[in-house]
């Protein structure tokens, strides 16, 4: 299991949260929401890739379709 992925996701989450707070305090509410959304999309993309690798491993192990 690639432990780096967990740290990457954690790091992105932390930095996005800080960025959200900084932008909100500067009065840029919309930009703060956009940054959070972008962070969620990036992390989702990373997770989907990991899930895809899992499915391929399962398929190869059990020789499914």
């Amino acid at each position: 299991m690639n432990i780096n992925l967990i740290f990457q996701i954690g790091g992105i989450g932390l930095l996005v949260a800080i960025l959200h707070t900084v932008l909100k305090q500067a009065g840029k509410q919309e930009q703060a929401e956009l940054v959070t959304l972008a962070g969620v999309v990036v992390v989702l993309w990373m997770v989907i890739q990991a899930i895809s690798q899992l499915f391929q491993l399962v398929r190869a192990t059990f020789q499914l379709y």
Binding site: Q8, G11, I12, L15, V16, L19, V22, L23, A26, K28
Partner: protein, 174 residues
């Protein structure tokens, strides 16, 4: 010994932080440039109103009132007028500001305020010029107040943005 990936991450972070700092500097320099413009306009007003100094000389004396690129524009305009006596003052004025615009931390609106002064310089009596210079000065003072408020909001924001964006990139590329 630092690993290449750590060194790369550090470089990305430093680069983004520098970019953020560069953007923040513009907000920091704008109130200063506006204050220098006002100082030079004050001296120009005194020279025109009380000293009855010729415009080219008045502009060059006004340039001595403040340091920095904003004051250098007054000097440029004054020297231009001294070099080409038949030239309309508004042309020398607008050309000097347009040439110096990339080096100044002034917004398009600030530049418009200064360019609007050009047509009245050297083209009417001293009372008329005095009123226009005072009007320009007051508009610049209002712009300076806005610029200070904007600097307070955006100076730290862009610095933090630079560092955080650098961190995000470093994490994503790791």
């Amino acid at each position: 010994m630092m690993s290449p990936s750590a060194a790369g991450a550090l470089l990305v972070l430093a680069g983004c932080a520098a970019l953020g700092n560069q953007a923040a500097l513009w907000y920091g320099r704008r109130p200063r440039d506006l204050a220098h413009c006002q100082a030079c306009l004050q001296v120009l007003l005194t020279e025109i109103d009380y000293g009855l100094t010729p415009l080219d000389e008045a502009l060059q004396r006004a340039a001595a009132a403040a340091p920095g690129p904003a004051a250098a524009v007054f000097r440029m305009a004054g020297e231009d007028l001294a070099r080409t006596p038949g030239r309309p003052p508004r042309q020398a004025w607008s050309q000097a500001w347009r040439r110096a615009a990339p080096e100044l931390a002034l917004s398009a609106a600030d530049l418009e305020i200064l360019l609007a002064l050009g047509p009245s310089l050297g083209a009417s009596d001293r009372h008329h010029q005095q009123r226009h210079i005072l009007l320009c000065s007051r508009r610049l003072a209002a712009a300076e107040t806005d610029a200070r408020a904007a600097a307070q909001r955006y100076l730290r924001l862009y610095r933090y943005l630079g560092v955080i964006a650098g961190g995000l990139l470093a994490v994503l590329l790791a």
